[in-house]
Symmetry: C2
Subunit: 189 residues, 2 copies
DNA sequence: CCTGAAATATATCAGTCCGATATAACGGCG
DNA sequence: CGCCGTTATATCGGACTGATATATTTCAGG
C-alpha cells in the first residue's frame, strides 16, 4: 500500500495537517492497522497537491506554529477509491520481540521473563489507548467491527502471555548452548 | 531489526542457503513473526562473509542448481547475541485488508463481505501451515510458547471473523457517501 | 514426447520508505 | 529564566522491498 493512498485515506475522514495524519496512525483509528512516517507523509502531501488530489490551506493558530491543513478533492476521492479496489496484500507482522524470544534458549531465564513482561505491557497499553479512543457503540458498524476485532486479538494476546508466563519461569536455566535445529521447510527431500 | 541480524538468526538454527533462509521466513519457524526479502538476504550474506560472521560452501546437487550453503561462525554468534540484547522495537502490524475494510462505507456490501471471506481464508491458511509445520509437543519450551501464542491469536481472529461476518451482510447498502468523520486524536483543544 | 508451469536457486536495481535529525515557536514547571 | 515537552514542517542518507533477469530441473497434461 502506497503512502499516498494512506494519506488520502486519512484525508477521507477529515481535513488534516501532516502532523495530524501521523497522529491518526500513531494513536488514532489506524493505530492497530497500519503505519506511516513523517519521512513519507510530507513528500506525499506535496505530491498530492501536484496531482490536485488535495488542496492546502495555511492556518494560523494562537500559541502554536502555523498549520498546513490539507483537504481531499473529488479527483483525490476517485483516486483513493480506485487504489483500494485492488486485492489487498496479505497482512505483514514484524515482531522483534517474538524473534528475539524465539532465541530464548540462548538468553538468561530472567531476561526472557522481563521480555515477556515488557510484551504484556506493550499490548496492555494498546488496549488502554483503544478504550480511551472511544466507545464502540458510537462507531459506524464497519468501524465497530474492526475496533472489536483488534481489541479481541489484543486481549487474547495479553491473556495468553499472562497465563503462560509462569511456564517460562520454571524453565531450567540454560547456558548459551545450541538447541536442536528448527525443522527445515522447503528442503523436503 | 537489521536484515543481517535476521539472517544470522536463521543461521543460528541451521546452515542454509539464501533461498532456504527465505523459506524459513516464508513458511518456516519465523513465518508469523517477521519477514525479509531476497533483495536483502543476498547482499546481507555477502556482508556476513566480509565480516567473517559466516562462511560459505558451494554444494552441488543432483537435479537442482548449485547451492551456496552458509554457516555461522563464533564471531557471528557473538554478534548475533549482542544484536538481540537490545530492547526490541514495538510490534509493527501492516494490514492493507483492515485499512481497506475501514472504508467499507464507501464499498458495496458484496465487496466488503468478499474481503472478509478472503481474510478468513488468509488466516486459515496460516493456521494450516503452522499445523503442518509440526506438533507443539516436539518443540523446545520457548518455541512451543511462541507457536501456541501465534496459533491462539490466529484462531481467535478466524473465530471473530466467522462470528461477526453476518453483521456486515445485514448492513444497509450504502452509496459512496461520506460517513461521520473519525474522532480526531492529538487535536485536543 | 513435447510444452509449459512450478519449484529451486542466485543476483541486481530502481524506487520507496523509515529513522534520525534540524529547525522553530510556545507553554508550563521549578 | 532556562529547560523540557508538545506542536509543527521538512529533509536526507541508508535500508529495504518488489520486480525482474537468468538458469536448471521436475512434473502434469495434452
Amino acid at each position: 500500500m502506497d503512502a499516498k493512498t494512506l494519506c488520502l485515506g486519512a484525508l477521507m475522514h477529515r481535513d488534516a495537517s501532516g502532523y495530524e495524519i501521523r497522529k491518526l496512525f500513531e494513536d488514532g483509528p489506524f493505530n492497530a492497522i497500519h503505519d506511516v512516517s513523517f519521512g513519507s507523509i510530507y513528500p506525499c502531501l506535496t505530491a498530492l497537491l501536484e496531482r490536485e488530489w488535495a488542496t492546502c490551506c495555511i492556518t494560523e493558530q494562537d500559541g502554536r506554529p502555523d498549520k498546513k491543513v490539507y483537504s481531499i478533492t473529488d479527483a483525490g476521492r476517485s483516486a483513493f477509491l480506485e487504489a483500494i479496489s485492488t486485492t489487498p496484500a496479505p497482512d505483514k507482522m514484524r515482531s522483534e520481540m517474538l524473534f528475539i524470544l524465539s532465541f530464548g534458549d540462548h538468553l538468561s531465564r530472567g531476561h526472557v521473563v522481563s521480555l515477556v513482561d515488557r510484551y504484556i505491557d506493550e499490548y496492555e497499553q494498546h488496549l488502554a489507548a483503544m478504550q480511551e479512543y472511544g466507545a464502540p457503540e458510537d462507531f459506524a458498524p464497519v468501524h465497530r467491527f474492526i475496533h472489536e476485532f483488534c481489541a479481541t486479538i489484543y486481549q487474547t494476546a495479553v491473556d495468553y502471555l499472562k497465563q503462560h508466563r509462569a511456564e517460562l519461569t520454571t524453565l531450567p536455566e540454560t547456558e548459551d548452548e545450541i538447541t536442536r535445529p528448527l525443522k527445515a521447510v522447503g528442503d523436503g527431500r
